[in-house]
Amino acid sequence: MLTRRQFLGLSGGAAITGTAAWLGLFRGGSSSHPTPASGAGDRVLVVVQMSGGNDALNTLVPLDGRYHDLRPQLGLADDKLVALPGETGFGLHPSLQPLVSLWNDHQLAIVPDIGFAADSRSHFESLDAWWTASPEHSHATGWIGRWLDASGQGADNPLVAIALGGGSVRALVSERSQSTAVNDLTAFRLTAPKGADAARLAQAYAATATPVSDRPLLAGAQDAVGATLRAVDVLGKVQDETSVEGDDPSNAKAGPISSALAAAASIIDLDLGTRVVLVSGTGFDTHANQAATQERLLDDLAKGIVSFTSTLAQRGHADRVLLVTTSEFGRRAAENGSGGTDHGHGGVHFAVGRGVHAGIHGAVDLAHLADGDLPAATDTRALYAAALDWLGGPSADVLDGHTDELHLVAA
């Protein structure tokens, strides 16, 4: 159960003292966005969440005969693997071929066997651990939310942290900061009744936010009104730029991660003072028929990342953006009987950008599995610490003392 303050933070509740004051803030916000300071102050972190628990061993494949013992059916043939020049211990899943260009440009860091040693095999406990950076469940706030609080970044701009595609907003839960969650940018537009005075209705709608009720849930619904109106005003510009029409409402557009990353690039380009963008992809819970599913998902991931980095480079933002991937637990080392893998431990994650120390940071030891799992030799918080250092920190305070022990980024 979140406290009132936490969910107000999540829904982006600014203290709104009246319609006129709010409208003033609204106009000011859209005409004169904050000018970022140079250095870490204008850096951006993009987090790509692979919900469901991505399978590590078929993503970054260890060149070790034991791999084929563990995966007689599901194992990728050695001659199908994508080689990483200069790297002899691993090959990539064929769908990740596009990432080789980033590897060659020294913009790709890979962390094998990462996770929480004490991670649960439950999706929901594991996600909670990943989002709060706390396998002991000792934090109610998310790891990014705590950074927003600690850095003072989230005090007055709900667009400082934006979640696209739903799913991972729990990482943004904070004590006193604001953020904005949007499922689908293409539908993010206020429509008035036909023939009605749209501006008058929007203004009356803004007025439903005050006076704030003493019933916490009603107050939460009121706070959401103001935050939403501001987000609509600003993100409408992104929508115009990245609009993609799906042909039916059940069928998410081809490549949900790619589309969301395209929107993220537009948000970064608009200079809204946004420091963190979360992008969520789903479907990585591959208990059955993993081969076809993971091929499609990793294809979306790799193409999305490469297109994102090239857009940023064209628009002059490449030096200030770091992308990292996250998930929940990894999967069992051995395949199951359904052409898939069950819930396990260690995963593999990527950090992408001009600020990373490129290379593979760690190892996979198939001779020493822990109860049939990769043991998660690197703690997830090492990756998070690198991400927060990229933003200028603080990191250790937010992550219970954990630091960028792998030196993933040049802080």
Binding site: G166, A181, D184, F188, R189, Q203, L217, A221, Q222, A224
Partner: protein, 434 residues
């Protein structure tokens, strides 16, 4: 007193149904609280006629082109047909919810859909999902053991959580885990060994796609007796379900979930304990539990509750009499984050303040505009809006207690424009809560 009864009847219909159609609140007040609860909880024995099946007459037959020898083009066309069937099935369900004379029975189907979760994103075949929902309707108030057994070997569930590929030599743990974690006991009330043992005992079930039939294949089954949840000799679906429902945690887990869904998140823990104890002593008779929950609601023991997009939209359509195109309705719900039959994951949809996110707020606003435009001129919501009668407007929207001060003041800002007034009332923070 009369006001109290009116508020209680409206509350019952908002929490244990999908809101109120014109005239329904007056009729309920005439019947009184006890008769209303009886009619909701036990429609068969209180003169409510059976409802027609929401999917009656819909062609959900399996398209050709799904066989292994089909060409890629044939397969693509078949998949497109399945998607279209799915959208029609979802829309038919929503239309049924707007008009149902058995709101609680339908609310329970919706509740079970969000609890014993399967989704079309993986099941793919709409006829399979529809069959599962028909099962949930026929067992909406059934003893939990009966429902849980049916769900365990339901074809859509066998596909969604991979039971149909789980064999004795290589058991798949997906269903075995979620059965305990999400469907019956909750984290902390079982061990990893129980997950594995349960998965073994449940092997052997497959799905015949053509007939949508669950079939037990002994050759695929591991019949070795398992030690499961403290019992020995568990070896098949019946002994698994018997072991699960015998756990004291089961009554509490289900009672708490239902109580929070109807009464709200901030209710007294002792109330939940009492409901769980009553549920346990009834032998997990869900009708007994539901009746006790509604009684607690009528007695004023609930808290505020956030409405999810689907119940919000259905209630808004029920009150305004407005219809929407299938396309507008389904697109809007997807944008809001709650397209029926497409739950985000096996835990179902989030609840509470998750629905205060910007996307949901925008979708509600857009729906409110569309509904206010489409509502018939003689609908009580529109009549009250035209007359500028704010109390009548609230009452027509199932809120006889009236609007908050903020919404009352805001409504004055669109005075004289009936459509905007109705739209603003529908989009207001007040209506975001049940």
């Amino acid at each position: 007193m009369a006001d109290d009864v009116r508020r209680t009847i409206a509350l019952l219909h908002r929490r244990a149904g999908f809101g109120l159609a014109p005239g329904e609140l007056d009729a309920g007040v005439g019947d009184g609280v006890d008769a209303t609860i009886d009619r909701l909880v036990d429609p068969d024995n209180h003169g409510v006629p059976p409802v027609t099946d929401p999917w009656d007459g819909l062609d959900l037959s399996l398209p050709d082109g799904l066989t292994p020898d089909a060409t890629p083009d044939q397969r693509k066309a078949a998949q497109q047909q399945l998607r279209q069937q799915g959208l029609r099935a979802i829309d038919a369900w929503l239309t049924h919810l707007v008009t149902t004379p058995r709101p609680l029975e339908d609310w329970m189907v919706w509740f079970w859909h969000g609890h014993l979760v399967s989704g079309l994103d993986k099941v793919k075949v709409p006829a399979m999902m529809v069959q599962q929902l028909r099962t949930f309707r026929s067992l909406a108030f059934a003893p939990f053991a009966t429902l849980l057994r049916a769900a365990t070997v339901d074809p859509a569930m066998l596909v969604y959580l991979d039971g149909d590929t789980s064999t004795g030599t290589q058991p798949n743990e997906n269903y075995g885990r979620e059965l305990l974690e999400l469907f019956s006991l909750g984290i902390g009330n079982y061990g990893e060994d129980d997950v594995k043992a349960g998965a073994r005992a449940l092997t052997g079930w497959t799905v015949v796609r053509r007939t949508i039939e669950a079939r037990f294949a002994p050759a695929r089954h591991d019949d070795a007796p398992q030690h499961y949840l403290g019992r020995d000799g568990v070896h098949d679906v019946d002994s698994v379900i018997a072991a699960v429902v015998a756990q004291p945690a089961c009554a509490h887990f289900i009672a708490a979930k239902l109580a929070h869904a109807v009464l709200g998140p901030d209710i007294d823990d002792h109330l939940v304990d009492d409901l769980a104890a009553g549920y346990a002593s009834s032998g997990l008779d869900t009708r007994v539990l539901v009746r006790s929950v509604l009684r607690a609601l009528a007695d004023g023991r609930g808290s505020d509750l956030v409405l999810a997009p689907v119940p919000w939209l259905v209630a808004a359509q029920r009150a305004t009499g407005a219809t929407l195109s299938s396309d507008a309705r389904l697109r809007g719900l997807r944008a809001a984050g709650q397209l029926p039959m497409y739950p985000p994951n096996v835990a179902g949809w989030p609840s509470g303040t998750a629905w205060f996110g910007a996307s949901t707020v925008v979708a509600r606003y857009d729906f409110a505009s569309a509904l206010a435009t489409a509502a018939p001129a003689d609908n009580p919501v529109i009549v009250a809006a035209r007359n500028g009668d704010v109390d009548a407007l609230a009452d027509a929207l199932g809120r006889p207690e009236g609007f908050s001060d903020a919404t009352r003041a805001a409504l004055a800002g669109v005075h004289g424009d009936a459509t905007s007034t109705a739209a603003l009332a529908l989009a207001s923070p007040d209506l975001a809560l049940a």
